[in-house]
């Protein structure tokens, strides 16, 4: 299986402890930056009802879905609170030259 690092834009476009959307080949992803400046990437839609997580709320390493408050740990993708019951897919992320790169299968 080929693995490609995709340029997801300037790393600093995401503020500390926040989330931003990223679309690649018609698929939505969510990019996260923690308060201590670490980056993570997950699928962009909540596994409960396909709502865009980039409109949600980040607290620590938890993302809350904006519609129903379902919670995920975005560092692992684990569903942490109903109505989210199914885990999110996560993707490796690195920062090079100020650019955020996401490895998508």
């Amino acid at each position: 299986m080929s693995e490609t690092w995709i340029d997801a834009g300037a790393a600093d476009r995401i503020s500390l402890e926040d989330v931003a959307p990223f679309e690649h080949q018609g698929r939505q992803y969510a990019l996260f930056r923690t308060a201590d400046d670490r980056y993570f990437a997950t699928d962009g839609l909540c596994t409960h009802e396909q709502v865009e997580l980039a409109d949600g709320f980040v607290s620590g390493t938890i993302i809350e879905c904006p519609m129903h408050n379902g919670q995920f740990d975005f560092t692992t993708g684990e569903a942490k609170g109903a109505p989210a019951c199914v885990n999110l897919a996560t993707y490796p992320v690195k920062v090079e030259g100020g650019r955020l790169l996401v490895k998508l299968d």
């Binding site: 503020s15 926040d18 607290s59 519609m67 408050n69 919670q71 109903a82």
Partner: protein, 358 residues
């Protein structure tokens, strides 16, 4: 009644459910007002402080009013204390259930969950069932055949509304379901919104509820007094009137089947005591537009998006001046609803609003 009107099926498993899906009204995209991400992020910020303060006041008021009612039991002097206790137990629990169900009241998760469990018991709502029911209410707000929390159909079920002044109909439904769940069953409707993985929790909670009520009944028999039930159980009934008074202002009489919360929800200004009891749920348009924003930040959100929303109602009385005539008219013409006017500066409702009925 309008000759052309065909009565609609408000259940979640009837023909209206299929029609809502076919019409694109189920799990649809809803209107969202313009607000910047930094503003929204600031408003969504969680804080334990306001909810801890309000919860301590609430518990203290419950203990003082219940304690004095117990102390004065047997004399008329107990009545006002039980009236206060009942409202704190059977009505203020509604907003605590709601806010903690969204997990926005407190920053700390276990605090939300603990108050949620207590409030659920007080308001006669099984925690798992109502978490999922409310999830659907937010997905499909006042979409007929999809929303399990529509307070009354059209034409209005006036008898049920009157019975629920003291939560009588709700209590019958609640106990019927608690027995069903305790036996390890769900209703057909509940199977449409409670995932299989969550169902064992429903059954366990129902059994715990029945055990608590059995203990209360046993205490009443042992002490040969109704006082234990006046403190645990009955306040869900005799104190329910204010939650109905507040709850009817949320959506009643407004449009069904519109994908814009500005048109199917009301924001009603309330005095500080009401707002404490209702935890700012009077900002109901704002709550539906942004469910992640904690109750204590809703007044700020209201100010931020006011220009994009219909004029708020100046008081609950003003809201009822609209609601009661609307319900009376819906008895004769179930197609009637109150059409909310958006201000000129507001972005228009983007999705199919049914023609005005004035």
């Amino acid at each position: 009644m309008s000759a052309a009107f065909v009565s609609r099926d408000y259940s979640l498993v009837g023909p209206e459910a299929e029609k809502a899906v076919a019409a694109g009204l189920a799990s649809a995209k809803w209107y969202s007002p313009p607000i910047t991400r930094p503003e929204l992020k600031e408003l969504m910020r969680r804080d334990d402080g306001p909810a801890i303060r309000d919860t301590l006041i609430w518990f203290a008021a419950l203990i003082v009013s219940g304690g004095l009612g117990f102390w004065l039991w047997g004399s008329w002097a107990a009545v006002p204390f039980f009236l206060v206790y009942g409202v704190l137990y059977g009505s203020a629990s509604d907003s605590r259930w709601h806010e903690c169900g969204h997990r926005t009241a407190f920053k700390t998760k276990w605090m939300n969950d603990a108050v949620y469990q207590i409030a659920c018991f007080m308001i006669l709502r099984e925690p798992e069932i109502w978490r999922w029911s409310h999830t659907r209410h937010h997905t499909d707000t006042v979409i007929v055949g999809r929303d399990p929390e529509i307070i009354t159909p059209r034409p209005p079920d006036v008898l049920s509304l009157f019975l629920n002044i003291f939560s009588l109909k709700n209590a019958v439904i609640f106990f019927r379901k608690v027995f069903l769940h305790a036996a390890g069953w769900l209703t057909e409707e509940e199977t449409t919104f409670v995932p299989a993985s969550e169902r064992p929790k429903v059954y366990r909670t129902a059994r715990i509820y029945l055990a608590i009520y059995a203990l209360v009944i046993a205490a009443c028999i042992y002490f040969r007094s109704i006082v234990p039930a006046m403190l645990v159980g009955l306040p869900s009934l005799y104190g329910a009137w204010l939650q109905l008074y507040f709850g009817c202002t949320q959506h009643l009489g407004l449009a069904e089947d519109v994908l814009d919360h500005r048109l199917n929800s009301r924001t009603v200004y309330m005095n500080p005591i009401f707002r404490f009891l209702y935890w700012n749920m009077n900002y109901h348009v704002e709550h539906h537009l942004f469910p992640l924003i904690p109750y204590h930040a809703l007044p700020k959100l209201h100010a931020a998006i006011k220009a994009d929303c219909p004029e708020p109602y100046p008081s609950t009385i003003a809201a009822y001046r609209e609601i009661i005539p609307a319900l009376a008219r819906q008895l004769k013409d179930p197609t009637y609803y109150v059409r909310r006017e958006l201000p000129e500066a507001a972005r228009p409702a983007p999705f199919g609003l049914a023609p005005a009925k004035t």
